[in-house]
């Protein structure tokens, strides 16, 4: 499966954001909801390498995953 994933450590926890590129249609709805975390290039969405994972950004990333019209984004955040 073609997918793109980034994991970041936030304090004593971590967050893993996965974009499934078999489903992603690159229309940038995630980048509109969470511009600090996502960008679109070559027709697919990607997680920025330099995200500052504060609470506000994490909240928008969850919104972007729930709002993705292609069901392409999953966010894994082990409970703290």
């Amino acid at each position: 499966m073609s997918e793109h994933q980034r994991t970041a450590t936030v304090g004593d926890s971590s967050i893993t954001v996965t974009v499934n590129h078999e489903l992603c249609s690159g229309t940038g709805q995630c980048a509109m909801r969470a511009p600090a975390a996502f960008y679109v290039e070559d027709g697919k969405a990607w997680v920025r390498p330099d995200v500052t994972w504060d609470d506000a950004v994490r909240a928008t990333v969850h919104l972007a995953a729930e709002g993705c019209p292609w069901w392409a984004i999953t966010v894994d955040e082990p409970p703290r």
Partner: protein, 422 residues
Amino acid sequence: LDGEDVRYDPMDYAVPNPWTELAADRQACPVARNRHGFYQALSYDAVSEVLRHPERFSSRSGNNLARPGKNTDVLIYADPPVHSRQRRLMIPAFAPARVNRLEPYARKVADDLLDGVSDGAFELIEQYSNPFAMTTMGCVLLSIPIEQRPTFRRWTLAIEAETAGAPAEAWEADVAECEEYFRRELRARAEMDDPPDDLMTVLVRSQLENQPIEEDAVLFMLRILLSAGNGTTTDLITNAVWLLDQHPGQKRRFLSDVPGMVGGLVDETLRYDGPIRGIFRTATRDTAVAGCPIPAGSRVYASLMGGGHDETAFEGADDFIIDRDWNTIPPQLGFGTGPHQCVGLNFARLVGRVGLETLYSRLPNLRVRPGFQPVHRHSPIRRGFHALELIADAKQPRTTDPSMAVTPHEYKIAKVAVPGRR
């Protein structure tokens, strides 16, 4: 700006290219109430805001002008979370990785159709753009029998007329016949041991919230898929051909590198004059867009045409330019935006790209018949011609193998895994 002072009227079909009216209204006030009493959003930002906020602008009952009370809560007539659960069922069939596997089949279908075109007069919609769209999309997703394409075209136009608010005699009998056909097919599939691999089977065998989907809801989904699937892609190809003919400099550029420029042509057509003119919503509460107050219960019209021609989003917005750099400008709104963004857009891009590339590779001398003036069908929602008469000559040989044994059935709706949501 209010009522009679609003110049742009999406229900006035006497002005085929209302760019001046759109610009004047947008300049004065990007959102205003028109003479029909509904609010129209004409700027890129206002259109995006309406479409991206279903909690303020509901899709329920909004888009069917003839029967506004009928069939709410299905796909384009539903709001999240009901809409989201239904849309999820469509995702495997429309996933880009899956759709792109249809390309060799689409190329062969396009070549086969053009083999049947002789030198001389050529009506694009009936002879090419509609059978091409219907064969690549309808025959694959809905198992439309190839010999019944003209019947499905008639049904598609009837559904469009109903949605546009035409009198019942213009659509009622055809719509009933179409629904009856789909009802028979669905009931047959529910009984089959080995049903065809298509969206009808997916829908009739799926459950939402541990319940089968009601038959009436599935029927309405199929109606929407038929009309939104082959009707719009037919117009995408046809509108692009007309626009190229109206912009000879752009046509020369396109012909200088058809495979390289066809993607840009598709996006620019969607921006400039795409198959969807505008979309209705209903305000769920007292709200405001671009400073214009909108009372709860108001009907709101998001003008995709208005957003596409907004100079603040697109430099030279009223110019047709097929090689815009889409990496550096805002995305065009031809597929809408927000949760209802066209679920079939990968399919539509494939149909548009292969349809136009094959057409102009084989008929580089293609042109509108001198003196022919196409007429738009009447709809505030859809944008397309009744017919487009062309002259074809100097046909080039096909590039696909006519005996190539490619059938859509090799491209099954895959078991694409779609993650759930919490």
